[in-house]
Amino acid sequence: MFFDHLVLGATGEFLNIGDIAATLIVFIALMLLLKKFAWGPLMGVMQEREDLIASEIETAENSRLESKKMLEEQRNLLKDARTQAQEIVENAKKQGEVSREEIITTARAEAGRMKDAAVLEIANERDKAISAVREEVVALSLLAATKVLEKEISEEDNRQLINETIAKAGEVQ
């Protein structure tokens, strides 16, 4: 009956050591073969993936930190730039104020100077004109006097008259 050897202990007079050996050998051989051809490579790939993911996460974390740092840096730079720009504008304004003041002062001084020069010039010209006129007057009066008094006044009187006239002219001035 085929049930005989399927029931525990029914192997009777012979112990089937062969089955035990076969089971062991087949199972161990299967395990070794699978380890070499299937589980080994598969575990390798899974490990690789694990490493890859871990490194990717690390990289992502690192780049996140880096970009955060850079953002902070950029923000600082921007702030600096803004302050600097403000400063520059302020300085320019101040500078403009100063130069405006300076220019005005210079212009005022220049104007004063020119006015003085003009006044002086005018005075000079007037003096010159007066003296010229006086000379002309003297000459004219001399001429006139000569013409009027040609015959009646002596040379002495003539000279006296001239001097008188000159003195008067001087007084007039």
């Binding site: 009956m1 085929f2 050897h5 399927l6 029931v7 525990l8 192997t11 012979f14 112990l15 089937n16 050591i17 062969g18 089955d19 035990i20 050996a21 076969a22 089971t23 062991l24 087949v26 199972f27 051989a29 299967l30 395990m31 073969l33 699978l34 380890k35 051809f37 299937a38 589980w39 490579p41 598969l42 575990m43 390798g44 790939v45 899974m46 690789e48 993936r49 890859l52």
Partner: protein
């Protein structure tokens, strides 16, 4: 039965053949599933990775992965081998001249007891290797020294239950399938009567086969962890 003429060792050739068939199927599945491995898994690679993670989960639920990592290959191979073995006897069985040739190899107590004994011996071996002979021996006196005889009995009980549970489930399933097949082959009425229970029982046997493979691997890891892990 066949006696090897050289050493006088008895072989049940049906067992040997079915073991080889099961091993071959497992190997082919695993081999072709792990060709062309990619970092982005597809198809069968996903399936294999799921099995690996499943066994990893079983091991991790029992012990630290540092201790248990080395049993990963053992666990996966056991799971697939036992599952395939359990499935082999389901579609049909072949009886030649009154000898059962095609069946589940796990429907034979010799095979299951060999596997169970191997597991128990492995657990003792790794227990001694991991904790040293002194601590290993001391475990027999915990938690109470007077429980020592029970501890000894436990070891044998573990071996027996581990092997016989698998054997009993699969063997019973095949017996019932055999009876139903006999009924189905008896005539038109017999077939009508047997068809539905046959389908139900085959479906149930697939379930049983999967569950038993899982239980075997689970208990393997439990027994090993009892011996290997420090706290238990």
């Amino acid at each position: 039965m066949w006696q090897d003429p050289l050493f006088g060792i008895w072989f049940n050739l049906s067992n040997v053949m079915m073991l080889l068939v099961a091993a071959l199927i497992v190997f082919l599945i695993a081999f072709f599933a792990t060709r062309n491995l990619k970092l982005k898994p597809t198809g069968m690679q996903n399936f294999m990775e799921w099995i690996m993670d499943f066994v990893k989960g079983i091991i991790k639920s029992n012990m630290d992965w540092r201790d248990g990592g080395r049993f990963h290959v053992l666990g996966i191979t056991l799971l697939m081998f036992i599952f395939v073995s359990n499935m082999l006897g389901l579609p049909f069985s072949i009886i030649v001249n009154g000898d059962l040739w095609w069946k589940s190899p796990t429907a034979d107590p010799t095979v299951t007891m060999t596997l169970a004994a191997t597991i128990i011996i492995l657990s003792h071996y790794y227990g001694i290797k991991q904790k040293g002979l002194k601590n290993y021996g001391a475990d027999y006196l915990k938690p109470m020294p007077f429980l020592f005889p029970l501890k000894i009995i436990e070891e044998f009980a573990n071996t027996l239950t581990l092997g016989l549970r698998l054997y009993g489930n699969i063997f019973a399933g095949e017996i019932l399938l055999g009876l139903l097949a006999g009924l189905g082959g008896a005539g038109i009425f017999g077939f009508a009567a047997a068809a539905l229970p046959m389908m139900a029982w085959q479906g149930f046997s697939i379930f049983i086969g999967a569950i038993q493979a899982f239980i075997f691997v689970m208990l393997t890891m439990v027994y090993i962890s009892h011996k290997v892990a420090d706290d238990h």
